[in-house]
Amino acid sequence: ADKFFVYVSPDQIGVNAFLKLGQAGIEEAGEKYGADVETYESRTAADRLENVNAAVNEGADIVVLLGFEFNDIVKQVAPTAPDTQFLIVDQCIDDRPDNVHCAVFREYEASYLVGVAAGMLTESNKVGVVGALDIPFLHRYTDAYADGVKSVNADASVDIRWVGGENPFADPVRAKEQAVAMNAAGADQIFTATSGGDFGVFEAAKEKDFDVYSVDVNQCPNAPGHVVDVTLKRVDNAMVQAIGAILEGEKKLTMALGLKEGGVSTIALEEDELADSGCLIADHPEVAAKMREVAGQIEDGSLKLEDPMFAK
């Protein structure tokens, strides 16, 4: 092939559904546009820089970078590599040169919807959320979820906890313990955004029999009968679209993808998938209906949500 795309992940791809989607996206784009593709996985901040440099050095036409971790690096590297196009998925930077493009998501819109469901379904009036690490990005999940809960159930209390520890994005043991602890404290609806830890939360749900919510892709089959709904993030679609636009010569492309653009979603909104999803939401049509209603308000702008990432 005459074109060469490189996807640089910010972390180990592993079971991280989001990063896996990025890999799927680059492969799809490669097929669609006839390009060789490669994936460079990073583990550390230093790796990220080295990988981006290596991608340029290996002559990539388009370097796709997933995650906000690459902002500084792109700022440094892009001006020195005018022949390479950089696509940052998930965040954008100011004062970009022409060869830097962005595609961002408004995950908090979907998280808010999931919060709405949890707020309606809780019987104890206590809900919980576990994030991997107390970082701003994950507040898009945790805070938006909490806001969603409060919007339908002002009395409900939301317990926000973090996995932390030595290995926050892949510590199912601690994730599970957090979920168990929250459940013991009364929470019956728990949202998990813990990457590798999600499995731990699912196990806790199976053992202690409570409802969970998760992120990125349909995880309902991982704990049948316990996952109510998940937020979806269409990284692959976004990537293919953005790469197409870049190949057509677009400069400083910016794509922002929320509910409206179909960049994020939840199972409840996907009426054709709903029945076979294995998600509990299928058994709660009134909740799904409410979620669709709120989604409509968000899409038409009548309900405005703050991006929790920049809060504080």
């Binding site: 079971v15 030595e166 892949a170 168990v180």
Partner: protein
């Protein structure tokens, strides 16, 4: 705060935190007593966790999983012995290398065997199910701690008195202590200290392997890279602190497990996660300082 501690799920979680640390520390204690300075418990645990998943996945039973983990740990013990005991490599160097080797091999085989990076989870991984103890489970405070845990926990509990008696009265236990204290004398008695140290390392590998199995197929049912997540280091500290004596070791491991378990529960009280993460390490430091202060006092008291 009180609510947190009274919560039965807190009590029930303690054994899950304690077991890997305790098993690794008991293994480390055998090495310590045999005069092998093994600070690679982290690596031993990790290999155990991986091998347990491997065995449990392909056999479909957690027992084979635990057995695989123990065998893998024993193999790592042999590697340690080869380089430290037989070739005379510095124990700290060998330990660091073993830790690296464990991290490298587990991630490497994770990718080579299961074709994933980061983590491997599959319904086919057969985990331990909780064992209910008929009468004990109804005892108020102890019930949730002692009943409903996985097999490795009970084995760990039994190991403590067993190792105590073993070191005091068993032929090999005697020789292990001799190898640690005055290997020259053991050699003069016609027993090769190196052989004894090899055996201690193998036993250490088996115990750590079981500890790893608790992490990966009892606490959860999956393997994640670097899953030991510092627990081996805590075990090392426990061994150094107690000079490898089983009973004190048990209480120290219990303390660490409880603090660890407590530490992220207090997140619920609004403490920043960074500070709760710090707690086990600070608790360890405090115990260390207190212990040496107490020892110094006692030594003084003794002399006067």
């Amino acid at each position: 705060m009180f609510e947190l501690i009274a919560d039965p799920s807190f009590a029930a979680s303690i054994p899950r935190f304690v077991t890997p640390i305790l098993l690794a520390a008991l293994g480390g204690a055998l090495c310590e007593r045999a005069g092998v300075f093994n600070i690679a418990l982290e690596g031993f645990l990790l290999v155990g966790a991986f091998a347990a998943v491997l065995g449990a996945y392909f056999s479909g039973t957690p027992y084979i999983g635990a057995l695989t983990a123990m065998v893998a740990g024993m193999a790592l013990g042999v590697v340690f012995a080869e380089f430290n005991v037989r070739r005379g490599g510095d124990s700290i160097v060998v330990s660091i290398a073993i830790n690296l080797l464990a991290a490298g091999l587990t991630t490497f085989f994770l990718r080579a065997i299961f074709d994933v990076t980061g983590a491997f989870s599959d319904p086919a991984i057969a985990g331990f199910s909780p064992i209910r103890l008929p009468f004990i489970e109804n005892v108020p405070l102890l019930g949730p701690i002692l009943s409903g845990q996985a097999l490795p926990f009970y084995l760990a509990l039994l190991s403590v008195p067993f190792l105590h008696v073993f070191l005091a009265r068993h032929r090999l236990g005697l020789r292990i202590r001799a190898a640690g204290e005055n290997p020259q004398a053991l050699r003069a008695g016609g027993v090769s200290p190196k052989r004894v140290q090899l055996l201690a390392l193998i036993a250490c590998g088996a115990l750590c392997g079981l500890g790893g199995a608790q992490l990966s197929i009892a606490n959860v049912n999956l393997f994640v890279e670097n899953m030991s997540a510092g627990r081996g280091w805590i075990a090392v500290v426990a061994v150094l602190l107690t000079r490898g004596r089983p009973w004190p070791l048990f209480f120290i491991a219990l303390l660490f497990g409880a603090v660890d378990s407590l530490s992220f529960r207090v997140q619920g009280l609004g403490l920043a996660q960074q500070f709760t993460d710090m707690m086990p390490y600070l608790a360890t430091l405090i115990v260390l300082v207190a212990l040496s202060w107490w020892r110094a006092r006692r030594a003084k008291g003794d002399a006067s």
